[in-house]
C-alpha cells in the first residue's frame, strides 16, 4: 500500500477537506450539550448502554449486580488452586503488610505505611510484571487538584459528582478532592517536574467536564514522571518488592480476616505463601479483558485479578456495570490501534472532525458523552473516515495546536504523542490524526470507605480496583489523583490495623466454599481465574500446540 507521509490516498482526500475548513474553525466554538442531549446520545450510542452485553451475577455478595459478560465470566470462575494443592504450614514470607500490585496505588501505600511507622522489612510488595508496569505509568494528560485561587475542593467535588452521573460515593469524592492540593505539594517536594511558569505557577488546563483549569501536567508523560519518582522513593526506603510473582488467591484466617496471599512465580511456577497482618489490594483495572472486543489503552497485566480474588473472600463490588471508553484511541496506523491519545490534545485546542472536516461535538464533553458522539458520527451519521483495514474513525485536528498556542508547543508538551506518530511517519503538527473510542478504565470496583478499608477485616484497597470514587464515569486527571489519595490512605490505614492485628490459622476454605456455590449454579469447571496475563499468541500456533514439556 502506498503511503504519502504516513497516510494512504483515500485518507488524504479527507485530510484535504479538513485543511479547507481549518481557517474558519479556528474562530469557531462548538456548543456543549444540554443534560438531555447528553442522555440521548449516551442511550443511543454508548457501548455501555446496551443491555444485551451484560448479565446478572448469580453468586457472591454482589449477587444481582449487572456486569459485562467478560467481568461476569472472570468473577464466576473457579480458583486456579484448591486447598489440597497448597501447604499453608510452610510460610515463605511473614510480614505486617502485603501490597498486591506495583502500580501507583501500591507504591504510594508502601511509602505511606513506612511513614506510619511500619519497618520496611516487614512490608512486601508483590507484582505480576515489574514494579511500575501499570496503567499509572501510561497516564499522559495530567492530575487534577484544586490549588488555584479561582478554584476550591467544593468546585472540584461538583465536577466529579456530575461527571460520574451523581452515582459516586460522596465520602470518597470528598476525600479525593480535599487531599488534592496536599498531594500536589507532596509530589513537588519529592521532586516531580510539573509544568510551571517561570515564577513557579503550575501550568494548568481544562479536561473534559472540568469547570476550572486544574489539570497539572508533566508534558504528556505525567503518569510516567509521577511513577518514576515514587518508585525511586520506594526503592530508597528499602521496601522489598517481588516481581513476576502475581497473587493468585487471598488467604484468610479462622477468624474471618484476610491474612495474606498465595503468590505464583510466573517464571519458575513455584508458589509462595505470604502471611500478612494487613493486605492491600492494588491490582488495577480490567482493560485486557477487552470488553465487547474493544482494543484497550491498558498495560499488559490489566486483567482485574484483584476483583476475582477479593470477591471470593466476600468483598462487595459496585458500579461494575459501567466501563470507560476513552474517546481518543488511535485508529490509524494499525500498529497502534487502541493506544491512548491523551485528552490534552483536545485540551490544547485540537477539534474532533468528521470526514468532511466539520465539527460535530464540543471537544471537551465528559468522556462517555464524547465517546458516544464519536460512535454516533461513525455509525449513525455516516461521517466516519475509513482506514485501509476497514476501521472507522474521526479526525483530531492536531495542527491547530501550534496555530493557537504557538510554534513548537506540540513537540514540547505532547512529545510522547509526537514521537509515537513520527515513528510511523505521521507528523501530527502538519496532519490530523485519526481516533476512535478505546477501552480505557474500570469505573467501578471493590467497595471501600474513605480510609481505603474494604468491608473485609484485614483487606484494604486503592486505585482502579476500587469503586465509588468516580461513580459511572471518571473524569480525566482523577485517576492519578485517585491512586495518590487512596493508595496513601490505604497504606496508612493498613499500617495502623497491622499494628494491632493478630492472625489465626491460615485457610483457603473460602475458595472451597465459593467453588461449591459456582457448581450449584452450573458454572463450567473449565472456567478459571485470575487470568494473570491475556493470550495473544497466533491462532495457527495455538491450534498445533501440545502440552508435553
Amino acid at each position: 500500500m502506498k503511503l504519502i507521509k504516513g497516510y494512504p490516498e483515500s485518507m488524504r482526500e479527507s485530510i484535504e477537506m479538513v485543511e479547507k475548513t481549518r481557517e474558519k474553525r479556528l474562530k469557531e466554538k462548538y456548543q456543549q450539550m444540554s443534560m438531555e442531549e447528553r442522555d440521548d446520545v449516551l442511550n443511543k450510542y454508548h457501548p455501555d448502554y446496551k443491555p444485551e452485553v451484560k448479565r446478572t451475577l448469580s453468586v457472591g455478595n454482589s449477587k444481582g449486580e449487572i456486569v459485562p459478560f467478560e467481568v461476569a465470566d472472570l468473577i464466576e470462575s473457579y480458583s486456579r488452586i484448591s486447598e489440597k494443592d497448597i501447604d499453608l504450614s510452610n510460610i515463605d514470607y511473614d510480614v505486617d503488610l502485603l501490597i498486591i500490585g506495583g502500580g501507583g496505588a501500591g507504591t504510594m501505600a508502601g511509602i505511606w505505611a513506612t511513614y506510619e511507622g511500619i519497618d520496611p522489612q516487614n512490608i512486601l510488595m508483590t507484582t505480576k510484571l515489574r514494579h511500575g508496569d501499570s496503567n499509572s505509568i501510561m497516564a499522559q494528560g495530567g492530575i487534577q487538584a484544586a490549588d488555584k485561587s479561582n478554584d476550591a475542593p467544593e468546585i472540584h467535588y461538583l465536577d466529579v459528582i456530575g461527571g460520574g452521573h451523581f452515582a459516586n460515593d460522596p465520602e470518597l469524592v470528598e476525600a479525593l478532592v480535599s487531599d488534592g492540593p496536599a498531594i500536589i505539594k507532596w509530589f513537588e517536594g519529592k521532586g516531580v517536574m510539573f509544568d510551571k511558569e517561570k515564577d513557579g505557577t503550575m501550568i494548568t488546563i481544562h479536561g473534559g467536564g472540568t469547570s476550572r483549569k486544574r489539570m497539572h501536567s508533566a508534558k504528556d508523560y505525567t503518569g510516567m514522571e509521577l511513577l518514576r519518582v515514587i518508585r525511586d522513593e520506594f526503592i530508597n526506603l528499602s521496601i522489598p518488592a517481588v516481581e513476576f510473582s502475581p497473587a493468585i488467591e487471598l488467604l484468610m484466617d479462622d477468624k474471618g480476616q484476610v491474612a495474606g496471599a498465595v503468590l505464583f512465580n510466573i517464571e519458575t511456577h513455584q508458589y509462595y505463601v505470604v502471611r500478612a497482618k494487613a493486605t492491600i489490594m492494588a491490582t488495577g483495572g480490567f482493560g485486557r479483558l477487552h470488553i465487547q472486543g474493544f482494543p484497550t489503552t491498558n498495560h499488559y497485566g490489566a486483567t482485574a485479578d484483584g476483583l476475582a480474588m477479593a470477591y471470593r473472600c466476600g468483598a462487595r463490588l459496585r458500579d461494575m456495570d459501567s466501563v470507560q471508553y476513552h474517546p481518543t484511541g488511535a485508529a490509524f496506523p494499525e500498529q497502534i490501534v487502541g493506544l491512548l491519545i491523551t485528552e490534552k490534545v483536545r485540551g490544547l485546542g485540537a477539534q474532533p472532525l468528521n470526514r468532511e472536516g466539520e465539527m460535530f461535538v464540543h471537544p471537551l464533553e465528559p468522556r462517555d458523552v464524547e465517546s458516544a458522539a464519536f460512535i454516533k458520527e461513525c455509525y449513525g451519521a455516516g461521517g466516519g473516515v475509513e482506514t485501509p483495514t476497514g476501521m472507522q474513525g474521526v479526525w483530531l485536528d492536531s495542527p491547530m495546536i501550534n496555530m493557537i498556542k504557538g510554534e513548537g508547543v506540540t513537540e514540547r508538551e505532547l512529545s510522547a504523542m509526537y514521537r509515537m506518530f513520527k515513528r510511523f511517519d505521521i507528523n501530527m503538527v502538519e496532519d490530523p490524526i485519526l481516533v476512535f473510542p478505546t477501552l480505557h478504565y474500570q469505573n467501578g470496583g471493590v467497595v471501600i470507605d474513605s480510609n481505603g478499608a474494604t468491608e473485609l477485616k484485614g483487606l484494604f484497597a486503592g486505585g482502579e480496583v476500587t469503586g465509588g470514587v468516580h461513580g459511572k464515569n471518571r473524569l480525566m486527571g482523577n485517576s492519578l489523583l485517585d491512586y495518590s489519595v487512596f493508595g496513601r490512605r490505604a497504606g496508612i490505614s493498613a499500617a495502623r490495623y497491622a499494628k494491632k492485628a493478630s492472625i489465626g490459622k491460615l485457610t483457603l476454605s473460602h475458595v472451597t466454599k465459593y467453588s461449591k456455590e459456582l457448581k450449584k449454579v452450573g458454572v463450567p469447571e473449565s472456567r478459571k481465574s485470575p487470568m494473570i496475563l491475556p493470550e495473544y499468541r497466533g491462532k495457527n500456533v495455538m491450534s498445533r500446540a501440545i502440552d508435553i514439556f
Binding site: E171, P181, G191, M193, A416, R419, A545
Partner: protein, 229 residues
C-alpha cells in the same frame, strides 16, 4: 484474521536466530506473539511508556546494530532480533532531604559519570532519541536543570547502560537529576502552598458537607448552573 487467510504478505523475521514468517505491518511485539511466544518478561505497557521491551536488531545486509522498543517498531523482512529482558544496574539509595546540590550531588552519588569518554554510543542507541551523552556531560558539570530537561522523556529501558564503554547507568543518573531539579532548582508553586494552608480554615469542609446532603435534583441543578472558566 486477514493474515491467516494469507491476504497480508508475510515477511521473514529471525527471532533469536530462528526464522518465522509473520504478516508484514506487525510491531515486533505482535510478531513475536504471532510466532507463538508468550511474554512474561519483555512486555509492559505495550505503548512506548514503560521501557520493558528494549530490543536490539540488525537488518538484512547491514552491519549496523540497531535498537528499538518492540511495541513501537514495525517488522522488516530479514530482520534478526533479540529482546533484553533485564538490565543489571545498581541504583543508588539516597535521602532526597539530605542531598546538597551545591556540591554536585550527581557526581557524588554516581562518580562513574566522570569516566564518560564522549563516544556518544548512549545517544545513538536511545530509542527515544534523547541526547543521552549531553545529559551525562551536563551532570558532570553540575548543570542539574539541563540534565533533567534533556533526560525527561527517558523510559528507563536500559539500552544506554548496556552500550556504555564507561559502564555508566545513565538512566539512573537522569532520574536523580530530575528529582533534584524538581525539588531544589525549579521555583516552588506558591499557590499550591496557599491552597493547602487554606484547607485548614475549614471552609471547604463546610461547603462540601452541604453538598453531600443535597437531594439528587438539587445537586443536579447546581451542576447544571455551574460556571465554567
Amino acid at each position: 484474521m486477514l493474515a491467516e487467510k494469507n491476504q497480508i504478505p508475510l515477511v521473514s523475521v529471525f527471532i533469536m536466530g530462528k526464522e518465522y514468517k509473520v504478516p508484514s505491518g506487525l510491531t515486533l511485539m505482535k510478531a513475536m506473539e504471532y510466532a507463538g511466544y508468550r511474554y512474561t518478561r519483555g512486555a509492559g505497557c505495550r505503548a512506548g511508556f514503560c521501557g520493558a521491551c528494549a530490543t536490539i536488531y540488525r537488518l538484512k545486509d547491514d552491519y549496523k546494530l540497531k535498537s528499538a522498543l518492540a511495541c513501537q517498531t514495525t517488522v522488516d523482512d530479514g530482520m534478526y532480533l533479540v529482546q533484553l529482558p533485564f538490565t543489571p544496574a545498581n541504583k543508588k539509595k539516597y535521602d532526597m532531604e539530605k542531598l546538597n546540590i551545591a556540591h554536585n550531588a550527581l557526581l557524588k552519588e554516581y562518580p562513574e559519570i566522570a569516566r564518560c569518554i564522549s563516544c556518544n554510543s548512549c545517544t545513538k542507541v536511545c530509542p527515544q532519541e534523547l541526547k543521552v551523552m549531553d545529559y551525562v556531560q551536563a551532570s558532570l558539570r553540575g548543570d542539574i536543570e539541563k540534565a533533567a530537561i534533556l533526560s525527561f522523556d527517558c523510559v528507563q529501558c536500559g539500552l544506554c547502560a548496556f552500550r556504555c564503554p564507561a559502564e555508566i547507568t545513565q538512566y539512573h543518573v537522569g532520574q536523580l537529576a530530575r528529582r533534584l531539579n524538581g525539588k531544589f532548582v525549579a521555583p516552588k508553586a506558591i499557590h499550591t502552598e496557599e491552597a493547602v494552608a487554606k484547607l485548614n480554615n475549614g471552609v471547604s469542609k463546610k461547603e462540601i458537607s452541604k453538598l453531600k446532603i443535597l437531594k439528587l435534583a438539587e445537586i443536579k441543578d447546581l451542576y447544571k448552573k455551574r460556571v465554567t472558566e
